[in-house]
Amino acid sequence: MYFGLSEEQEFFQDNVKKFLADNASIDEIRKIASGEGQDLQSEIFQGIINLGINSLLVPEKYGGLGVGLLHAVAISQALGNGVGPIPFSGSYVMAPLAINLGGSEKQKEELLPKIVSNETRFGIGLSEFVGAREDAGLEIKNNKASGRALFVMDAENSDKIILATKAGVLFFIDSKDKNLTASGLTTVDKTRTFQELILDKVDCEILEESAKDIEIVKKVIDAGRIILAADTLGASESMIEKAVAYSKERKQFNRTIGSFQAVKHMCAEMAADLEPCYSLVWQAAHSFDVDSPIESRLLACQAKSHLSEIGKSVSKKATEVHGGMGFTDLLGLHYWFKRIGLNRQILGAPEIVREEAAEIQGFNQ
């Protein structure tokens, strides 16, 4: 019996952490966030791809590493920890899972190796299936997709985009299609990108298996939720480390502020809140990997909503421990605050996800 990340998973995680520490300092993050660091962002992206994050969830049969979601969780923690300004949750977790679970054998053979070789990068947008805002939604008629999709993940500079109809059928389109209008959404989090898509009879290809089984889109969303929870876990961990470190340096009243109980207790509360979260997120990913559907969906919902709540509280307290400096752009703490804030809303804000968890358990019967 062993409950935790394996040595290999920790090793991979440390590599990503170290890469971000060396290549994506706060100055570099700021540059990318201001929209002036495209070359820098490509360099960071290429560096992380060289570590192999694009191959994780592609089965060995199609040239990938074929590891489980827990492995991707380890990476997601590292990316959250360093506010990694690269596509991951959509392009390299949800998209390969969508193809692997929802594609026909022919589609898998065609698409998955290209994720590994980095020839094709996918964006993915399932927001409308979780809860459509502003009447957004997509329909397919005569193999042409029309409608509007909001908060499409990792779609900027992508080659193809996976979307879902209101009925939960997965399909993909070409990002450069002439009947597609894509515009970037300006969110608080500048470390990841989201797009609004308007489709007017865009050529599309349905992922065949997904048309037969609604479970597939749900499973992709479960995975996305667990990965976002892991990102919040890593980002929260980093905020606590920063708050503790700052409190040991900053002096007021001739003492380091970390010697005041008011400050110590805030740090202890954050640590006590976050510590059980590692276990919850890892168990959710493990449950997803061993394929116990009901338990794993409940765990995915609870991991997502619980981490949303804990992340919100940690990001507030950690900022407060930094005093006025926490509020400035000088320290850049807000990049973590906003990353956690965005993870909370995407693929279902906590109340929505808890309501789903209630349904799974039959509380509404």
Binding site: M1, Y2, F3, G4, L5, S6, L70, V244, S247, K248, R255, T256, G258, S259, F260, Q261, V263, K264, H265, C267, A268, E269, A271, A272, D273, E275, P276, C277, Y278, S279, L280, W282, Q283, H286, D289, L299, Q302, S305, H306, E309, E351, R354, E355, A357, A358, F363, N364
Partner: protein, 415 residues
């Protein structure tokens, strides 16, 4: 990640399951015995009472004989005499909890004194006390806190002098649960007045029928559990009632305190209470609507469930770190008391909230739900948030020992 215990445990698990099937929802004949009220509240022992009736002391004997209690305590001291095996202990705890099989007796003697004597006691002390304690024949109370030694426990002033081969003890203890039922007390006494604060304390065993002991009840807010104040006026006990050496009492006490803190909020008991709460919300109605169908109540339930699931997963990680000594859980153990007691208090409080006016009913009111256990446990866990090292002291421990933050500078008072 590997959550399987391995096939070598299959047979053992089956034996435990068979036993648990037989005693599912068993009733302990003297379960309302005040002595064990605290233990039953902590362990979440069933109040459904639909199974076999068992006598408390026979139950204890059966559990030891089966190796489901006192498993790794040597036979010569009244235990089962098995090899320590944390996985077997976990299987026992999980199956008992799942099947609502009553737990063995607990209490200060079993949970704290027995491990202390195993580590620090003389052969004579082990022979004399462990067996009768395990079998519930000797009940112990703990004499640590004093009116001026609460969070600052090492400030304790109850004095012991060695006169003609006897300890003569004077002073006062407080918050002493079960003192009125106990045969013995294990006690921290200042025996070395010239030594430094922590080095002046000794660990001494005191029979409660010794002349000079006065017990005064100290009623707590539940009006049920009950603490005591214990006064010592020239209480005289033999020199050999000292455990370990003179001045080692602080180390002796600390070696088992961590154990107590962890046991205050057992995640299995918390999960059982959550399931009881879910059933309550499915059965109770307001204006003809089930409570679980009220969206705001349901959302609060789901929030608490998220926390309970996190704590349960966390207990698996802690178990894993005991089996795999290289696994670093850093703060993992330190947070248990803080997180576990706060969560249980919140859970019990939610049940009261959703019941509205009915939530205020208590004791033997004919309309009271679940035997009044929600109000009792809600208040009881507020006591546990304060006791066993207040949760503010826990936060000091987490921040200083876990996060490496500096201690509060000592204040020098000028008069």
């Amino acid at each position: 990640m590997d959550l399987e215990f391995g096939s070598e445990y299959d047979e053992f698990t089956k034996d435990v399951q068979d036993f648990c099937k037989e005693y599912s929802n068993a009733i302990i004949s003297n379960a309302n015995d005040k002595k064990f009220e605290m233990h039953d509240a902590l362990s979440g022992n069933s109040n459904e009472k639909t199974g076999k009736v068992v006598n408390r002391s026979e139950w204890q004997r059966l559990l030891i004989e089966k190796g489901y209690f006192a498993r790794s305590i040597p036979k010569e001291y009244g235990g089962y005499g098995g090899e320590p095996d944390i996985i077997k202990s976990r299987i026992i705890a999980t199956e008992f909890s799942k099947n609502k099989v009553p737990n063995a007796m607990g209490g200060q003697g079993i949970d704290m004194l027995v491990p202390t004597l195993l580590e620090w006691g003389t052969e004579e002390q082990k022979q004399k006390y462990i067996k009768s304690t395990l079998h519930g024949e000797t009940i112990w109370c703990q004499g640590y806190s004093e009116p001026n030694a609460g969070s600052d426990l090492a400030n304790l002033q109850t004095k012991g002098e060695l006169i003609d081969g006897n300890w003569v003890i004077n002073g006062q203890k407080i918050w002493t649960s079960t003192a009125q039922f106990s045969q013995m007390m294990f006690c921290l006494i200042r025996t070395e007045p010239d030594a430094s604060k922590h080095a002046g304390i000794s660990f001494i065993l005191i029979p409660m029928d010794t002349p000079g002991i006065e017990i005064r009840p100290l009623v707590d807010m539940t009006l049920k559990a009950g603490f005591n104040e214990v006064f010592f006026d020239d209480v005289t006990v033999p020199e050999e009632n000292l455990v370990a050496k003179r001045g080692e009492g602080w180390s002796v006490a600390n070696s088992v305190l961590g154990h107590e803190r962890g046991s205050l909020a057992n995640p299995n008991a918390t999960m059982n209470r959550l399931n009881t709460l879910i059933n309550l919300m499915k059965e109770e109605t307001i204006d003809g609507r089930r409570l679980i169908d009220v969206p705001s109540y349901r959302d609060r339930l789901l929030q608490v469930q998220g926390k309970v699931m996190a704590v349960q997963a966390h207990s698996l990680r802690l178990l894993s770190s005991k089996i795999n000594p290289n696994q670093n859980v850093k703060l993992g153990g330190m947070i248990q008391k803080l997180v576990g007691t706060e969560l249980r208090h919140e859970l019990e409080g939610l049940a009261i909230d959703i019941m509205g006016e009915l939530g205020t009913l208590y004791e033997d009111d004919p309309n009271v739900r679940d035997g009044g256990s929600w109000q009792f446990t809600y208040m009881y866990f507020l006591g546990l948030i304060i006791g066993g090292g207040t949760n503010q002291i826990q936060k000091n421990i987490i921040s200083e020992r876990g996060l490496g933050m500096p201690r509060e500078p000592k204040v020098t008072v000028e008069v």
